[in-house]
């Protein structure tokens, strides 16, 4: 009996008129928790009632505290008839259960009704008194912190990382219960919302218990999903990474977070970087860090290994594959071993074995050595093998016993085993950047899981390692706070290059292949690493993780998408499932080919944040792969794309081919410019290292004669881990030139579509990872948005190709609209672009995008670019940039405040076109200012970033009758906010809403309906965050957006599930007074 929940209803405002006669409302409030309900008095005849109620107290188990939401219902009192409900507010009180999170919830909440949307607001205060519970058999897990963020949260350090946690709960969907026929839509929706809220609570509690069992206190990278299985039920499942997190003292900035342990060799920053120290692991491209405070390079340990050391890892060891217990299982799970790898040559063989032995002990004992994290402390990732993914098609049947969700558990178990075995095949013992998803259509369900096979650093696996090794990593990886290229980096660059006695310098180590060079799991083209020249790297690398901070990247990155649409016959049951599973491997293959082509077209060699979604509809399958392409300096330059015709005698045809070839070559050249990809020429230091390498890689490959070779092979082989699975090999043979063969019209169109990808408008960049390599100097101005489109395919008999074209156009158009909408933020980058596709009905395609646009500072950007270039070009004869770029410029400019920047950028901007855009922008602003006789607080939007919104709005508002204005809450899908510092995590936001209408036309049609619903969801998220005392949501995502319509009946329904972490941030500039962070932190460390 360990908790007392207290709630107080203060007031309401903007209530709807419930009594037509008086144009007023007699409102009162019911406050319900569990089975206890309290009521306020009726506040008669007012749209802005002041209840000022007493404290309603609920004495409850902490188990209930975790599961149940506080339910507040606002009603209109009616003397003669039943009271009318105005709307509800559900408050998740979980954030109050952890000492470190929020202390109370207090603020204005939108009153939400599933039929009418937001109807006014209510001011509520909620507190919890928790008593200590020492019961070891407890069912609750109060105090376990949850984070959606997929890296170690910024004001924490990870003392221990325990590993993978998962859980799922199932229930009957109220929408499909018999009672639903007799109750109102409102009642049905509310039952559903409440049930899901309960289930999420329960799920979170259960996962929390597992974490406590493991000895942890937090879940990072928490990913919760709903499967609306229709008739067969409702599944809520979640995965995450259990950790033990230590809160960093508020004094230490997250940038400096790292040094909680004493580092004897920690010198003040200036020293460390000026001395050509032995820190060979010094990241060469410190400026290349995504942004100045990307992820705390937290120490990372795991559980101590068990006493008996297991035998050395053998990739061929068969993994026990559990065959599914369900007889409906008709799955054919295509396996993907994506990307190719390289190995670390002979001389590192023993080392590798050692690493394996060490890490294995820690990881092997776990059932699933999976990590949902996508961003890691530097040095943590030793090698990355490539993407591993598994899919399985299942037939849904009714969940008979909700308390025993065995079938679903078994399904996922099976998939995870498969992932694990794939990872092993790639010579890896762990999977990072792991995620799971489903796509359901009628009774068919595709389960998917994917991740990146990786080797983790044994140093991070040992207890106590943090005091000795690794410290150098952590220190050095911190870039100076001064954003863009300070001179520090210049000096660093030269020295860092020389001598590495260790196996893998951080800037390239993770690229080195983890598997054995002579026993490769799939054919791949290996070369010696272009940075250290010691070890083998693959020609391309695909991963699901974010770009490691220490990675050396040439130029900028960009969003790369592969889109695919396949028709499928309508079918039922097993036939349908079989048809789908037969299609899957081909889809994966096509998507992969597309990705590869597009990657090469952009002259890049690696993909990060790869996410492949395959969505099933009644008569089609949609595939969408998104990733961020980059040029990893450690990997060889990609070869060009060569096209070859089948009928060499036809002159016209030849002509056609050569035009096309020219277009491709032009595009590649253009892209190189656009993304600033000017890789250094091969150095000639160690000719031997390059003997195996064709010199073509940087020459114009495209001109070389066309080898008569198939563009890639699809072959089947029995993998060692399973006996009945087909294996797809997606690597593309030898790579001296990448050949596209045009043998039919399809192929021609493929190439056409390859080339028709709309170019980015100038001033824009895009990526689906946390940040863009090569861009720093983010301004605080950002805009998170969600855009949803539904297309109706009017033409019933579309070919696959027609469909593909339409689908591609769809996505391209959507992107174009985004660029146009956000043009006022130029120069800017769309980050974390997350597409979700679905085929909700026959002939309907739904595409939803959530992303954030972040402005950066052009002027300093260029300076930084040049510094980077200078650094990278250092060793090479080919200096792209003249050296006269004075160091002072780069030092002076970086910290210019955004407001000043627009001017300076206009004056200095070297690039002519940018300059004109700027002028354009200013002209526009001037125009607007002239047009409206408005007293703008600041003349342009850019210059009035929101962060200080609270104070700003206070100042600016003219005397308002209705109290203080609403405080600004920022939202971002990223784990950070540029130019700010997160000082506190207040708890997880996980909300589920249903909205329904029976007057679709009156609400502005489907668009009007969804527009207001999404706006309402945002508003409710913001309100909850503000009530927790926060001013931003990070790692925000919209996990589910299910939209159904019936225009004939004038009805529509939509379900949305969103999640994120509520935080408090402060502006970086507020901290500017605190000088050199490293020194200050060192001082702090000294105390330990």
């Amino acid at each position: 009996m360990p908790g007392k929940l207290k709630a107080k209803i203060v007031a309401g405002r903007h209530l709807p008129v419930m009594d037509r006669a008086s144009d007023l409302t007699d409102a009162f409030v019911e406050v319900k928790f569990g089975n206890t309900t309290f009521k306020t008095d009726v506040f008669p005849k007012s749209l802005n009632p002041q209840w000022n109620s007493e404290w309603f107290k609920f004495e409850v188990d902490d188990e209930d505290l975790q599961d149940e939401p506080l339910q507040i219902t606002v009603l209109d009192h009616d003397t003669y008839s039943a009271n009318d409900a105005i709307g509800k507010v559900y408050i998740d009180i979980d954030p109050l259960l952890s000492i470190e999170a929020a202390t109370r919830i207090s603020g204005w909440f939108p009153i939400y009704d599933t039929i009418h949307g937001i109807r006014g607001e209510i001011n509520v205060v909620v507190k919890v008194d928790l008593f200590n519970d020492l019961n070891c058999f407890r069912q609750s897990s109060c105090g376990v912190k949850f984070f959606c963020t997929t890296s170690i949260p910024r004001c924490y350090r990870a003392a221990l990382v325990h590993g993978f946690v998962e859980e799922l709960v199932v229930n009957e969907d109220p929408e499909y219960q018999w009672i639903d026929r007799i109750r109102t839509p409102r009642a049905s929706n509310e039952a559903r919302q409440r049930l899901i809220s309960l289930m999420s609570g329960e799920l979170q509690r259960k996962i929390g218990l597992k974490v406590l069992e493991m000895g942890g206190n937090a879940v990072v990278g928490y990913l919760q999903c709903f499967d609306l299985e229709g008739e067969s039920g409702l599944v809520v499942r979640a995965i995450g990474t259990a950790c033990t997190l230590d809160k960093l003292s508020p004094g230490t900035a997250p940038n400096t977070t790292t040094h909680t342990n004493a580092h004897p060799n920690t010198a003040p920053a200036s020293n460390a970087c000026n001395s050509p120290s032995k820190d060979s692991k010094e990241p060469v491209f410190s400026e290349d860090l995504p942004h100045p405070f990307s992820g705390p390079p937290t120490p990372f340990r795991t559980l101590p290994s068990s006493t008996s050391s297991p035998p050395p890892f053998s990739p061929s060891k068969p993994c026990s594959r559990q065959s599914s217990s369900s007889d409906t299982d008709v799955s054919l799970t295509p396996k993907m071993g994506m990307g190719s790898g390289g190995s670390a040559g002979k001389e590192t063989g023993p080392l590798k074995t050692l690493i394996r032995q060490q890490t294995q002990s820690a990881l092997e004992q776990r059932e699933f050595p999976f990590f949902t994290l996508t961003f890691f402390p530097p040095g943590f990732l030793v090698h990355v093998g490539g993407v591993v993914s598994a899919r399985s098609v299942k037939l849904l049947d009714r969940i008979h016993n909700p308390d025993e969700p065995e079938t679903r558990d078994a399904w996922w178990e099976e998939i995870r085993q498969e992932i694990k075995s794939h990872a092993r095949a790639l010579g890896c013992h762990a999977v990072v950047g792991y995620s799971e998803s489903t796509s359901i259509c009628e009774e068919v369900c595709i389960l998917s899981a994917s991740g990146t096979a990786a080797m983790l650093n044994p140093r991070f696996m040992r207890e106590g390692c943090l005091d000795t090794g690794g410290s150098d990593h952590r220190l050095s990886r911190q870039p100076p706070l001064v954003v863009a290229g300070s001179e520090r980096n210049d000096t660093e660059v030269g020295s860092a290059w020389l001598g590495f006695e260790d196996a893998s310098p951080p800037s390239c180590g993770f690229c080195h292949i983890p598997y054995d060079e002579f026993n490769m799991p799939f054919p791949a083209q290996l070369t010696n690493c272009y940075r250290c020249r010691r070890q083998k790297v693959p020609d391309v690398l695909f991963t699901t993780i974010d770009l490691p901070a220490e990675a050396a990247v040439t130029g900028k990155g960009c969003l790369i998408q592969a889109r695919l649409c396949r028709t499928k016959k309508k079918a039922q049951g097993e036939v349908n499932a079989t048809a789908i599973s037969n299609l899957l491997p081909f889809m994966e293959y096509e998507l992969h080919t597309q990705l590869m082509n597009k990657l090469k077209l952009r002259s890049m060699n690696a993909l990060f944040g790869l996410r492949i979604q395959i969505s099933v509809g009644e008569n089609m399958l949609l595939g969408l792969a998104s990733a961020t392409g980059v040029y990893l300096s450690a990997l060889p330059a990609p070869s060009g794309i060569q096209i070859a015709g089948k009928t060499p005698n036809d002159v016209n045809y030849e002509q056609h081919i050569s035009t096309m070839q020219k277009r491709i070559n032009d595009t590649i050249a253009k892209n190189k410019e656009l993304y600033n990809i000017h890789p250094p020429k091969l150095f000639t230091l160690d000719p031997e290292a390059f003997t195996g390498l064709n010199t073509e890689s940087l020459e114009e490959v495209v001109g070389s004669p066309i080898p008569d070779r198939q563009r890639s092979r699809l072959f089947r082989s029995t993998s060692e881990s399973s006996d009945d699975l087909s294996e797809l090999d997606l690597s593309h043979g030898k790579k001296d030139a990448f050949v596209l063969e045009i043998d039919d019209t399809d192929a021609v169109e493929d190439i056409q579509s390859l080339l028709t990808d709309a170019p980015l408008p100038s001033g824009f960049y895009s990526c689906n990872t946390e940040v863009m390599p090569g861009i720093h100097n983010w301004t605080p101005s950002l805009q998170m948005f969600t855009s949803v489109r539904v297309y109706r395919l009017s033409n019933a008999n579309l070919t696959n190709h027609g469909l593909n074209k339409i689908f591609t156009e769809l996505c391209e158009n959507l992107l174009k609209t985004l660029y146009f909408k956000l043009r006022s933020m130029i120069p800017c980058c769309l980050c974390h672009v997350n597409f979700t596709v679905a085929a909700p009905e026959e002939e309907l395609i739904q595409v939803a995008v959530t992303a954030v646009a972040m402005s950066f500072d052009k002027e300093t950007q260029q300076a930084a670019d040049k510094t980077v270039k200078k650094g990278s070009a250092d060793n090479e004869e080919q200096l792209q940039f003249s050296m006269e770029l004075p160091a002072e410029t780069s030092i002076n400019q970086p910290t210019t405040r955004p407001s000043g920047v627009s001017e300076s950028a206009m004056v200095h901007s070297s690039s002519r076109d940018r300059c004109s855009t700027w002028l354009e922008l200013l002209r526009l602003k001037a125009h607007t200012i002239r047009r409206g006789s408005v007293k703008t607080i600041s003349s342009s939007e850019r210059c009035s970033p929101l962060p200080d919104g609270r104070s700003r709005s206070l100042r600016s508002t003219r005397s308002l009758p209705c109290g203080a204005p609403v405080s600004v809450v920022k939202m971002t899908p990223l784990s950070f906010l540029p130019a700010t510092r997160i000082v506190k995590y207040l708890g997880i936001i996980n909300m589920f809403f249903i909205r329904e209408t029976t007057s679709l036309r009156e609400e502005g049609g489907v668009s009007g309906f969804l527009h207001s619903f999404i706006a309402e969801v945002f508003a409710m998220v913001r309100a909850h965050v503000a009530a927790l005392g926060g001013n931003a949501v990070v790692s925000y995502s919209m996990k589910e957006c299910v939209f159904m319509e019936n225009p004939n009946k004038n009805q529509a329904q939509c379900l949305i599930n969103v999640s994120g972490d509520a935080v408090i941030f402060v502006r970086e500039s507020d901290q500017e007074a605190t000088p050199p962070l490293v020194t200050s932190s060192t001082a702090a460390d000294g105390a330990t």
Partner: protein, 357 residues
């Protein structure tokens, strides 16, 4: 293939001021797209008509959703649905309540009733302003009128506080409310030449000098009505024209002062009695609601037109009215000095504003 649904929602609500203006001006989405395309935005932003349409549509929807809030601007600041930076909020409100000079001239002084609203299509046809825009403007007038009608205290300040408008716009609305309340006739042909700003200026003077609030701004509820007692007292000014001696004396004082200072001296001398009678009669009749309505037309007929036909300059008018006002103080038997100043101060400024050479 057709787009069935297309929405974009930003955490901070994105609003394009140009599109907002199109929306306010009552353009259809298609027309707005056309105009935007002509503006060269396609080339500038490397985009397509489709994108432009989608964007315009989306913005229109946003504005429609905001419109409800704009009806009581104070709500905009503390609603939760749209996150709009304060300076944008101010812009939205200010633009929403902005009106066309042409339009307001058509309805100025008319009763803000359903009947008037029904005639808006005529107004729209006449002014070339879209009906939609006319309706918005008309509804704005009506809304402001209804709210301030029941409020105490100074009119301009009330409008400013309740509708969060700029001072300038609040004053204009005060004028509109004042005209609507007193039903001043402004639509007669003779008054066509006057702009809204001319009237607004006069309204400002009347509000600040002739209403109850003008003397003691917290006493009564209204800035909207002219002070009854004052109007009653104005009858006393009649002595200036009924008393033959006083009239002659007044004339000679004025003429003496003006001799040699103006080119139209002869006309002044010849017309003095007529002009003076005109002005005083206006004052004397103001107790009649009907005559209050004709206030402006009377000023034009009785004073401005005669002067204009004699080709007075504004300077002449100023000179004449100044001396005309001041000379009255020198008349021993004229006892209503304060009243006279209160009356003539406004009349003088009004005439000067209304006199277009």
């Amino acid at each position: 293939m057709s787009v069935e649904l297309d929405v974009f929602v930003g955490n901070t609500t994105i609003m394009d001021e140009e599109v907002y203006q199109f929306w306010l001006d009552g353009y259809t989405v298609n027309d707005a797209v056309k105009v935007r395309m002509e503006g060269g935005v396609l080339e500038e932003c490397e985009t397509s008509a489709e994108v432009l349409y989608s964007d315009t549509m989306d913005q229109y929807r946003t504005f429609q959703m905001c419109e409800r809030l704009l009806h009581s601007p104070a709500k905009l600041a503390n609603q939760l649905l749209f996150q709009i930076p304060p300076h944008r909020q101010a812009m939205l409100i200010e633009r929403y309540y902005a009106f066309d000079g042409l339009f307001v001239r058509e309805v100025l002084g008319k009763k803000l009733s359903k009947g008037t609203k029904k005639d808006l299509d005529d107004v729209s046809a006449k002014t070339g302003i879209t009906l939609k825009s006319c309706r918005r403007q008309f509804d704005n007038f009506k809304r402001v009128f209804k709210v301030v009608e029941e409020l105490k205290g100074p009119l301009v300040e009330n409008i400013r506080q309740h509708f969060l408008l700029s001072d300038k716009l609040a004053r204009d609305y005060a004028a509109i409310v004042f005209f609507a309340n007193n039903r001043f006739e402004t639509g007669k042909k003779k008054l066509y030449y006057l702009t809204f700003q001319d009237f607004a200026f006069c309204a400002g003077l009347l509000i600040s000098k002739w209403t109850v609030g003008a003397m003691d701004n917290m006493v009564e509820d209204m800035d909207v009505d002219l002070e009854k007692q004052f109007l009653q007292d104005l009858k006393d000014l009649k002595i200036l024209i009924t008393d033959k001696d006083l009239l002659d004396q007044h004339k000679s004082l004025v003429c003496t002062a003006l001799r040699g200072k103006t080119n139209v001296f002869n006309e002044i001398e010849a017309n003095f009695k007529n002009l003076s009678r005109g002005l005083i009669n206006i004052a004397a009749k103001l107790t009649n609601t009907k005559d209050v309505r004709d206030f402006f037309i009377d000023l034009v007929e009785k004073f401005i037109e005669p002067c204009r036909s004699d080709k007075w300059t504004s300077g002449d008018i100023l000179l004449f009215l100044t001396h005309y006002t001041n000379s009255a103080h020198m008349l021993d038997s004229f006892k209503h000095q304060v009243l006279w100043d209160r009356y003539m101060g406004v009349i003088k400024s009004c005439i000067l504003k209304m006199y277009h050479e």
